[in-house]
Symmetry: C2
Subunit: 595 residues, 2 copies
């Protein structure tokens, strides 16, 4: 490494360099021999430039270049030259120039990779994950990593500018009785005891507020040992924030500005603020979801009053037994066949709907098996309520409110996508607020905290602790983008009397509360300021910024749905000595382990 | 929270605010009642301001203030007033003003804390750690957290400006056979298998170089299950860096600039660059340490040639059997008593020295039991070699080079401190370079890698693989500050032939190498660029920036020497159900667990 250190990046060679001698470092993307002249598409992190070897420029260099193959690592020195007009490649940023090479050094050779290093390859994801180090060479993956790095920086810059202090909280911490399943770490020094990896730094960030730090943030790794879905990873990253002496009305606008800053700095998009707000009740009523995609309409419409006395027993019966009937209007789907409508019914069934009734308007007639149960007046009233016209399709679910919301909410999302109602260039943010504080747990026959037991109730609902705890609304909020929950948070309880009411509503005695939350309750007694915060999922946010639909596309070394790393083959066997030192044994029989 | 939100921080109230109405939020540091007027030292993250309650300003506020105690949380509104000249407090930044309070709200009360919230308290560290949330309220701890946040930001800003990309690497990864003891995490989905927490992102950062990322960094959490010393924590943070296409000669100056940037941005100190460099051999010879404190002299001096034939058999014998005799000159210690010299001998014995010989020059005489074995010429020669004068004390160790270095190196550090030779305002950086690549392992009767098996040898030493592998010097480097190793790194092997020579020197067959390093060796075959990097210990660096001598003073929630968190009481017991789900059991008997 003397002359070989690059003077310019491949993707940045431009007409300004014409006539200059440059040194480039990178990888061979493609090599072609045209009539004894060798053309190489030469790639580094920034892009591709064409380098040319001709015996006339330098015979030795040309001879070496004749032997290089894809993914060889080279250092080359040469002169930047304007391409002939007919050789200009408008698809390439550097397409007006090329580099005529006088010196070359092969820094390393390469086997033929298992897939081509370029975008939009059709390769099984398992293979990509096994050879992640090659997959990450592809420009779209490099862009994703750079975007992620930029997003983190934008978050930090904003938070630093607002007086937030970054604090690192422990990864080896204590297992908590509530919440998701913990990952455990056996302690060698304390036989029979375990650390837990944090599901979030919740506890520590509240303690930092008690410590008077006032504004905390951390881009924090969190862990949940749950069964994984496409949009979950066993370890994930959240932008974790907590503040003191601010109310929701100060915090939420600040968080909007933060997210707007991140979008501007990373992808140049202006996010309008303030974000609209929907109460939880309204979101569920209008969209059947607490994370609605508001880029399109097709809202859920309650028709219970219109069908309460109709002849269709399923509808009338649902209303009579405390349920409801709601519908959405699938514009322009009046031509759907019975088969197509039945398929939608099967889809709705996955969300708990016992049936999906439908009514299509086509050729001036009302289609569908339920049509005969309704009078012309009833049908007119339904059409009017749902703004249905000739050519439209109404889809009804009659059930308990939760089932109606789940099924019609899911149908709405599906149809919104399929009918092309969604503007994919749009970023539609909103806050969902006024979540219920408590949820009735049928199994345990008691209230449980919807968020966590330290979530602060709305001041005006405090009196409901005595009369109707289920109606108490929390000072909790979720930030929602395009149908995804980006994150959420709450103001926390800081007054002892409120905390006691909360524990009472949860059915905890003083002793039980102490046993479960121990030292945190102690901490609360030494001068706790009003505080609250939020946590945003960085992986999901970057996924949306990058326009991808899978978290694995924006994580350098992700895990599969079975929490495996296909590259390192983690998790794996360990030696008996390691387990002995940790005072544990596995309960797996040897024949099982072979599987 | 309406009027109560602060308009200015306590520590920032100044003469510019005189006459203005301000709102403050914070904690009661101290409350005094002087003739019916209440003075409160009111504290937030930024400092303290005096707030005054007088029935004449507002009776209600005064009555409330009469009941508040230390650590109560208040919001107050009042007018900033210039203090009377005799009431000015020059010790306080805000000491020229005070706030006359018209409104007060007690946001929360507080029990009496177990210790006073102020600097330089004399409290057992165990108590501080148990009540860490109160300990962190103390100004010096707040300063430490802010300094740490600032240092992280300075590292990031520098690295971002140099094209480094921040990448998050996994925490749930695979156990590696070499290195320190891993923390393990049982997998629920893969019974009998385990993840390991990373000792460093070494593997992943090299893979990112193979991925063509070119410049990577991460402020990374790392884990080692080792027996802890005062300056170790089971989880620690390192500034982890890797680059491609750069040689040591490009990387090291860049790292110097980075550290200089951090020192300038955090504590305003100008660090001169370039850093001096010492070879490992030179550092060991002159300072008896591979992390020498070069803020003072008192170098180790070889006198083997002068004493090879002397009558003192211990010296002559050591030289004759391949050992050496070295000495340091403790200036001005010629008056040490035999007892004092013997105590130094006991200290040296801890580092393996079988004895410490001494020779003092006092009252024109040569003191010490060994003096009689030396001729006047020999003594003159020793004095001259060590620049010893009347009043000095020479301390000798005769042994194998390692023992001589360890014992005299430790003595040098001890005496440097005790004799006040160290300028504690100084930051003396250096690089130690040219570490040996291999170390002979007596037990295993083979060479082992001093750093790791991918450390690149110096080009000019490659031929020694065939003849004398122990003499090969590595392209490895440690950054040293004031006797502490801040971090280290190396250029990595990227050529297959060099890697094969390395494995051969370590006694690995191809199959063994594959078994141990598996997919990493695969990865190396697909076009690996020349690369290398470094990792700096953030905890230690911040400790030195803060002028502290214990890592726990710069970590928000540290662990004790037995890897416990005294606040959360982690690690702890978990439920049998949790263990059953993970397919493990503990081998600890119940009576043991009670201990």
């Amino acid at each position: 490494m003397t002359w070989q250190y690059r003077t310019v990046h491949c993707g940045e060679v431009s007409k300004e360099h014409i006539g200059q001698e440059v040194v480039l470092n990178g990888w061979v993307q493609k090599r072609r021999d045209l009539g004894g002249v060798i053309f190489i598409d030469f790639r580094d992190r920034t892009g591709i430039v064409q380098i040319v070897f001709n015996p006339e420029y330098n015979k030795t260099a040309w001879e070496i270049a004749d032997k290089v193959r894809s993914e060889y690592v080279l250092a080359v020195k040469g002169t930047v030259v304007q391409r002939d007009p007919e050789a200009v490649n408008p698809k390439l940023k550097t397409g007006e120039v090329e580099v005529h090479v006088a010196e070359i050094e092969v820094l390393n050779d390469a086997k033929t990779p298992p897939f081509v290093i370029e975008d939009e390859i059709d390769v099984d994801e398992q293979v990509r994950l096994k050879y992640r180090y090659l997959d990450l060479r592809r420009p779209e993956m490099q862009r994703a990593l750079l975007l992620r790095s930029k997003a983190s920086k934008a978050f930090r810059d904003f938070l630093d500018s607002r007086g937030f202090v970054e604090v690192e909280t422990p990864i080896l911490t204590k297992s908590t009785p509530e919440g998701a399943r913990d990952y455990l770490v056996p302690s060698r020094v304390h036989p029979g005891e375990f650390y837990a990896l944090p599901q979030s730094p919740q506890l520590f960030k509240q303690l930092l507020m008690i410590s008077g730090l006032e504004r905390y943030y951390q881009i924090a790794r969190c862990f949940r040992d749950e069964d994984l879905r496409a949009d979950r990873q066993p370890e994930f990253t959240q932008v974790d924030i907590e503040t003191s002496f601010l109310s929701m009305e100060e915090l939420l606008p600040m968080m909007e500005q933060m997210v707007a800053h991140v979008f501007k700095e990373t992808i140049g998009v202006d996010v309008p603020t303030p974000f609209p707000r929907l109460t939880y009740a309204e979101a569920m009523a209008r969209y059947g979801s607490d994370k609605p995609d508001i880029r399109f309409g097709m809202e859920l419409t309650d028709v219970s009053d219109l069908v309460a006395n109709c002849n269709f027993k399923v509808f009338a019966g649902a209303v009579a037994t405390g349920g409801q009937v709601k519908a959405i209007n699938a514009k322009g789907c009046g031509h759907y066949s019975r088969k197509e409508a039945d398929d939608l019914g099967k889809f709705a069934a996955r969300y708990g709907a016992k049936g999906l009734a439908w009514m299509g308007f086509k050729d001036g007639e009302v289609k569908g098996p339920i049509a005969k149960f309704f009078s012309a007046e009833e049908i007119d009233a339904l059409k009017q309520r749902l703004a249905a016209e000739e050519g439209d399709l109404l889809l009804f679910v009659a059930d308990k409110p939760k089932v109606v919301a789940d099924a019609l909410g899911a149908l709405r999302s599906k149809l919104g996508e399929e009918l092309g109602l969604i503007d994919h260039s749009k970023f539609a943010f909103l806050w969902v607020v006024d979540f219920p504080l408590l949820e009735w747990d049928e199994e345990a026959q008691r209230y449980v905290a919807l968020h966590h037991p330290f979530t602060r109730p709305k001041d005006e609902d405090l009196h409901l602790f005595e009369t109707d705890p289920g109606q108490i609304r929390a000072q909790a909020y979720d930030m929602v983008l395009n149908g995804y929950e980006l994150g959420g948070g709450s103001m926390r309880i800081y007054k002892r009397d409120v905390q006691e009411k909360m524990f009472k509503a949860l059915g905890f005695s003083q002793e039980e509360a102490r046993k479960q939350f121990g030292f945190l309750l102690d901490a609360f007694e030494y001068g706790t300021p009003p505080h609250g915060g939020i946590a945003l999922g960085l992986d999901r946010l970057v996924m949306l910024l990058a326009g991808r639909n899978n978290l694995r596309e924006v994580i350098a070394f992700p895990k599969t749905a079975s929490a495996s790393d296909l590259m390192t083959d983690a998790p794996g066997q360990v030696s008996p000595l390691q387990l002995a030192e940790l005072n544990i044994t596995t309960t797996v029989k040897e024949e099982d382990e072979q599987e």
